[in-house]
Symmetry: C2
Subunit: 259 residues, 2 copies
């Protein structure tokens, strides 16, 4: 197994960094190859701008088109090309981050914004009567798996089906489905640690044990059953889910799971 860990926390002694370190040691001890993109340690630039695209940048700037031309002509910046190369190398991608304001930290969002360029992560594949590009289950990263490892300050109850923050699966849907499944990555159920505002040194061994168990069973874990776009479940080109496919009462993001 070749695993890329994308890590986004400013403090090397944090719970997040401990979980990242544990992933490295656990996977390496199991004989896997591991590479780490530690975004804070790399001083990762999270801001998309014309400098990303070199001579492919137009004036005025068109982010999608220019990023695609830069990808195709090899004029993306070295830092972005290195991350794309790591993604192509990996068969498994782990994202380790704290949930800040119900989504990922800015430094990680900016990794997505800059690395997931047009023609690499989107704008891939033909559009015709039976397919709308290669997206949602197909694409450049098809065949790979990903897993979000997330720390959450508040208690699990607040992220339950009736919890005030909204269900955790819905909060993570734009990342898991919109960012990862879109270019073809199968997404395993997330590893979420709650109540980290109150976690103590005494609590850590149980968290570590649970994380090790997840890491050592990645290959036998079923992915989230997102529906593939181009295989009959959706009208083309509206990309509406066809009537009657979902279990009774299913609405919202949950429509896009096939069971």
């Amino acid at each position: 197994m070749k695993t890329l860990i994308v890590h986004a926390h400013p403090e090397p002694k944090s719970l997040n960094s401990s979980l990242k370190d544990l992933a490295v040691s656990t996977l390496e001890a199991a004989g896997h190859e591991v590479r780490v993109s530690d975004l804070y340690a790399m001083n990762w630039n999270p801001v998309v701008n014309a400098a990303d695209y070199g001579s492919a940048a137009s004036s005025p700037l068109h982010v999608a088109a220019d990023s695609g031309r830069a990808f195709e002509t090899g004029t993306l910046t070295e830092d972005v090309r290195a991350e794309q190369e790591k993604l192509l190398w990996a068969d498994t991608i782990i994202f380790q981050f704290p949930l800040w304001w119900y989504t990922m930290p800015a430094i990680l969002k900016g990794w997505v914004d800059r690395v997931f360029t047009y023609r690499f992560a989107y704008g891939v594949g033909e559009h015709n009567d039976t397919q709308y590009g290669e997206r949602y289950g197909e694409g450049t990263l098809a065949g790979k798996k990903a897993l979000l490892s997330v720390t959450v300050g508040g208690p699990e109850a607040h992220y339950a089906a009736r919890g005030i923050n909204g269900p955790i699966d819905d909060l993570l849907f734009p990342f898991q489905h919109g960012i990862l499944y879109y270019p073809g990555v199968e997404v395993l159920p997330p590893f979420v640690v709650y109540s980290t505002d109150r976690i103590t040194v005494e609590d850590y061994p149980d968290v570590a044990k649970a994380w090790e168990n997840r890491l050592l069973t990645l290959n036998s874990t079923d992915p989230i059953p997102f529906r593939r776009q181009n295989f009959g479940d959706y009208e083309i080109p509206s990309l509406h889910l066809k009537d009657g496919l979902e279990p009774a009462g299913r609405t919202g993001f949950g429509l896009h799971l096939h069971r």
Copy 2:
């Protein structure tokens, strides 16, 4: 009316920047005061780190606690304090941004991450048997209104109730409810322009007219009816929505609207 516009697009000649400029001119012509935080023009730093908290930063860093102590002792960086001051000054906040990978650009997420510190935007109010802090309808920014003005590359159908990307209201929920309503801001329905990948100069006057209409009717527009946390709809401290309050069949994020 005192309006703060937080703008997040790298190209001054973009649709986003045009809509921002139109908001400034329209509101000023109507006699309102307007301030703009143009994050790209300001070269806004979106990355939370220890330098934000000055002498209040602990080692190891604790983002929540340290940001709260820095807020209370006045040791937050000047750029963050300036944004907090603008938020306290404004009665209306407009966010102008493109939807990138189903959420805001990293530079805007990093404005939230750095400006919405502990004790300013969260960690406010008492916890007891009848309230769980001042959150979701109460808090530092109570009495203010906000509006998201969002450009979306893809077509509206893909963001409909059965659309593959998920409903736009659900994609915006973590921002509108989790970030804005949390510290007390009432959120007006978003202004969303779709299919901007294909928009032409000929299309712009209709978009501009629709945006002007929204800007000139802000005061008569009803906010999204999010449920207040501490007024009987939720169990405390689980913050589960009490059984039976929602319309039949309502699930997910939609539970947290009272109609």
